[in-house]
């Protein structure tokens, strides 16, 4: 990937994706000033809608509370809320870190910190994932910021995939969940790193810059750093947070609708069990710090299929797909997620066969 390619990703070439929460004075040509009255109405609009909505809900709060009755719906709400509550700290810290990267860390820093050659930058960025002790929700906005600051997309993607899987907290949790089988954590760390680096290199060969559509964010170039920082935080919380809500709702639905008993019938076949657990990892969208314990409880499945579960989960799941679609665009997510899924299954199975 040439430096020119990188430059193009930094610059949005899609006028329709321009962020209108832009800094004052950033005038886009070709947009005539018109209909100030209508603007006024729509500007008041969202606050008014919000106020009205809240008023209605406050008035009918008993009825709203009563809507959620029945064990199934109640369990759905509990799982939905708990996925979100669990993810909020990691989302917020990820957003703050990504705003720091976007506003305060100079572009030249990344040129110095990462190897100049993209093919070497990919494994370096993947290994750098060790230092981000969190789960996957935080790494999506960070990867977006890295690309925006001129890091080769391939390296940023390797970081995105590796960080949630190979950090010390997750590997420690894996060791604890599989007592007497330290090989599980070793295999998980190695397989995840290999998948992340392989996906980075694959992106260098086949990836097209135009698949990534980072919204144009003139607010990030605000001369007032503090204002730019808070604008970046606000935008990313609303954006990534909204997609996180979508993903949490999907995960809660799967959690309630798919009974675990249904899975057990697939445990006997070595091939089916790998595919079943890989799919389950995508659907359940469990935080990467906890998935090892869930894998440990799937005791009827082979160790290899459980390793695949642990490799796929932090890289591809419903809430990640939702957040990646929001951050990088649909064209990116619809290609990146399936290929990562297949790569994670293949590499996970190979490591399982050799190490476990």
């Amino acid at each position: 990937m040439s430096p020119a390619d990188n430059a193009t990703t930094r610059r949005a070439r899609y006028p329709e994706e321009i962020d209108w929460a832009a800094t004052p004075g950033s005038v886009t040509p070709g947009m005539p000033a018109e209909q100030p009255a209508g603007v006024h109405a729509s500007r008041i609009g969202s606050v008014e809608i919000l106020a009205g909505l809240l008023l209605v809900l406050a008035l009918f709060r008993d009825q709203v509370g009563g809507l959620v009755s029945g064990a199934r719906l109640q369990t759905w709400t509990t799982v939905f809320v708990s996925v979100l509550v669990q993810a909020v700290p990691f989302l917020v810290f990820g957003v703050v870190l990504s705003a720091v990267i976007a506003v305060f860390v100079p572009r030249s820093f990344w040129a110095k910190a990462l190897p100049r050659h993209p093919a070497l930058a990919v494994p370096a960025a993947g290994l750098a994932g060790v230092i981000l002790p969190g789960c996957e929700c935080g790494s999506v906005p960070i990867a977006g910021s890295l690309i925006r600051r001129g890091v080769t997309p391939a390296a940023a993607l390797a970081f995105l995939l590796a960080a949630p899987a190979i950090n010390p907290i997750v590997l420690t949790a894996t060791v604890i969940a599989f007592p007497g089988r330290p090989g599980m954590a070793v295999a998980r760390g190695l397989a995840s790193l290999v998948v992340a680096v392989a996906m980075g290199w694959l992106w260098l060969r086949l990836g097209k810059t135009e698949w990534i559509r980072l919204p144009h964010r003139p607010d990030l170039d605000d001369s007032a750093k503090a204002r730019a920082f808070w604008a970046a935080c606000r935008h990313d919380v609303m954006h990534a947070g909204g997609f996180l809500v979508l993903g949490a709702a999907a995960a809660a639905t799967i959690n309630v609708v798919v009974p675990a008993a249904w899975l057990q019938s697939l445990a006997g076949s070595p091939v089916l069990s790998v595919i079943a657990l890989a799919t389950l990892a995508v659907l359940l969208s469990i935080c990467s710090e906890a998935d090892a314990f869930v894998a440990a409880s799937l005791s009827q499945f082979s160790l290899t299929s459980r390793l695949v579960f642990l490799v796929v989960g932090p890289m591809v799941d419903l809430k990640l797909i939702s957040m990646q679609t929001g951050m990088f665009g649909r064209r990116f997510a619809s290609r990146f997620a399936p290929v990562t899924f297949v790569a994670a299954i293949l590499v996970g199975t190979a490591f399982g066969a050799v190490l476990l």
């Binding site: 209108w20 929460a21 004052p24 950033s26 005038v27 886009t28 005539p32 000033a33 018109e34 100030p36 209508g38 603007v39 006024h40 609009g45 969202s46 606050v47 909505l53 809900l57 509370g65 064990a71 109640q74 369990t75 509990t78 799982v79 939905f80 809320v81 996925v83 509550v85 669990q86 700290p89 989302l91 917020v92 810290f93 007592p179 204002r227 808070w230 604008a231 935080c233 606000r234 935008h235 919380v237 609303m238 954006h239 947070g241 909204g242 997609f243 995960a251 009974p259 675990a260 057990q264 359940l284 469990i286 935080c287 906890a290 998935d291 314990f293 869930v294 409880s297 799937l298 009827q300």
Partner: protein, 242 residues
């Protein structure tokens, strides 16, 4: 969604998180260790909301001018998906969903208990009956054949859940991160004392070790049994998970 509306949503979201944390309601959803992180995250959300309002109020003319210039019809390029953040706010403030109960316990396979790390189990805590967690009881019962349990009266706390045969079992959900990964630990109830509390009611059961071992139909995990001597209904503990 304009900046002011976004600020209000962030304010509500951060406020709902902080309220749930301070009232211990968050223990129904996540582990206790997340408390400081939740407070900091909630505080940051509120700070971002306040700063957004501050900048919006300080430079209203510039913002209005820009919107007047070319804002119409493009308001939807603001993160409209951010509206969805109202859903968790509503769920936390209005619905306050309960902790996972018997429905979830029947849905998932039981926790696979691990043997003690060193082969010897420490002696039971003093007291008669001695309080013991469901996980500890299951582990001692299955891997130690109850050696450290025999001859003692034991007190277990959990909620009632219908077993596969319809007989009540004692259960507690085990959380590692959040309720999405909650797994039940179930203890079968042997003996003649029937527990006729409704599913999901919390009970304190006093009993003795039973040799009976069953299988969880969902994942074929071993299920320990307790011979019930007496029981009483209690209110849900502050920390509902094991």
């Amino acid at each position: 969604m304009n900046r002011l509306a976004q600020a209000v949503v962030m304010l509500l979201f951060g406020g709902a998180i902080i309220k749930a944390t301070l009232t211990d309601m968050f223990l129904r959803y996540v582990k206790e260790g997340l408390r400081p992180l939740l407070l900091v995250a909630g505080g940051l959300l509120i700070a971002a909301a306040v700063m957004t309002i501050w900048y919006d109020l300080r430079a209203p003319s510039a913002a209005a001018e820009q919107d007047d210039g070319h804002g119409h019809g493009h308001g939807h390029h603001e993160p409209r998906v951010g509206w969805l953040l109202l859903l968790p706010v509503l769920a936390l403030l209005l619905i306050a969903p309960p902790a996972l109960g018997s429905y979830a316990a029947g849905q998932a396979g039981a926790v696979v208990v691990n043997p003690a790390l060193d082969s010897d189990y420490p002696p039971l805590p003093a007291g008669d009956p001695a309080p013991i967690s469901l996980l500890d009881y299951a582990s001692r019962s299955i891997y130690d054949s109850g050696k450290s349990l025999t001859g003692r009266q034991l007190k277990l706390t959990g909620f009632v859940t219908p077993g596969p045969d319809g007989r009540p079992m004692l259960a507690r959900m085990v959380l590692t991160c959040c309720a999405a990964d909650g797994r039940p630990i179930k203890i079968g109830l042997a003996g003649d004392t029937q527990i006729d509390a409704a599913p999901d009611s919390w009970v304190e059961v006093v009993g003795v070790y039973s040799q009976q071992v069953g299988k969880d139909p969902v994942n074929k995990a071993d299920v320990a049994y307790l011979e019930v001597r007496s029981w009483q209904q209690i209110t849900e503990p502050k920390q509902p998970y094991a």
